[in-house]
């Protein structure tokens, strides 16, 4: 089946019904392997000790907070430019999941920061821009719920989402552009990662597993949103017929 054929919501529902169990199984296996590697194979850091193990949940959550917003930005282009039938469904479904992973990134970062930095929070550029990302997610969720007409809500949310993409490079490069308490880039950087393979491998496995978890949650949320819109359409039709 060509990808473009999945643009039809009915075809998407059929395809995703078969996809969801496969994604669940893959996510479960990869996360289980990742947790095993993170706790029983990766060595303690020479400075941080075992506290470095927070990295294996913090970094994947932070990655998903940004990648999730990227998914919403691409979907917003689909809403505004191509009026793709699944574009707004994707963006609206991705928002709560992205917000949840942003929250996890902030909380686990705080729990890592307290023993290592001596403080739960500082208003440095990385932490503040990540908090702004959470506020943007919450604002978009509120916008979708505040506007009753789905078409108007979709366009308004798509514009706001695209405006908000300016925050993604700010988060990514904040540690290069400003002096931050948060450590500098150590994974996706020019010249390669500065983390030893014994820690990098578990980290990548956890990132893959969490990304699969994100994918299955997004697919299920999209299925729910398509059904919700069908319910709304049918209820409006029934109300019109009764009037």
């Amino acid at each position: 089946m060509a990808i473009v054929e999945l643009a039809n919501p009915t075809r998407f529902l059929g395809f995703s019904r078969r996809l969801v169990p496969v994604l669940w199984a893959l996510a479960g296996v990869v996360i289980a392997v990742g947790l095993y590697l993170s706790f029983f194979v990766a060595p303690p850091d020479y400075q941080q000790g075992d506290t470095v193990r927070i990295m294996f949940i913090h970094v994947p959550s932070a990655w998903l907070s940004m990648a999730g917003y990227g998914v919403m930005a691409i979907a917003s282009l689909g809403t505004l430019v191509w009026r793709h039938p699944l574009a707004d469904v994707t963006a609206k479904s991705a928002a709560p999941i992205g917000a949840a992973f942003t929250f996890v990134a902030l909380v686990t970062g705080s729990l890592w920061g307290k023993p290592m930095w001596g403080t739960w929070w500082v208003w440095d550029a990385r932490l503040t821009s990540e908090l702004v990302l959470l506020v943007m997610y919450l604002g978009l969720i509120a916008l979708w719920h505040a506007v009753e007409d789905p078409g108007r809500a979709a366009r308004a949310a798509a514009i706001l989402t695209l405006v908000g993409t300016i925050n993604l490079p700010i988060i990514k490069f904040s540690v290069d552009w400003w002096n931050t308490l948060h450590q500098g880039e150590s994974i996706f950087r020019a010249g390669g990662a500065t983390i030893d393979a014994s820690m990098l491998t578990p980290l990548f496995v956890m990132m893959a597993g969490m990304t699969l978890l994100y994918a299955v949650l997004l697919t299920m949320a999209m299925r729910n949103e398509i059904l919700r819109r069908r319910v709304r359409t049918l209820e409006l039709a029934a109300a019109g017929a009764d009037a």
Binding site: D50, L213, L227, R228
Partner: protein, 55 residues
């Protein structure tokens, strides 16, 4: 585990609770939408494609 075990356990616990909450929300929402569609179907309110042209 280190002297900071509490911080490590708390980080993974928060992540587990949030993920469990997401899963519960998605599953409950899916059931709710299917129930509402079934209610509409029982009242004879169906999509045209699902009822052979009847609304």
């Amino acid at each position: 585990m280190s002297a900071h075990a509490g911080f490590i356990v708390a980080a993974y616990l928060v992540a587990a609770v949030v993920v469990a909450g997401l899963v519960a929300w998605v599953v409950a929402d899916g059931r709710e939408q299917k129930r509402r569609l079934a209610d509409l179907d029982a009242r004879g309110v169906r999509r045209r494609s699902a009822s052979g042209g009847r609304s």
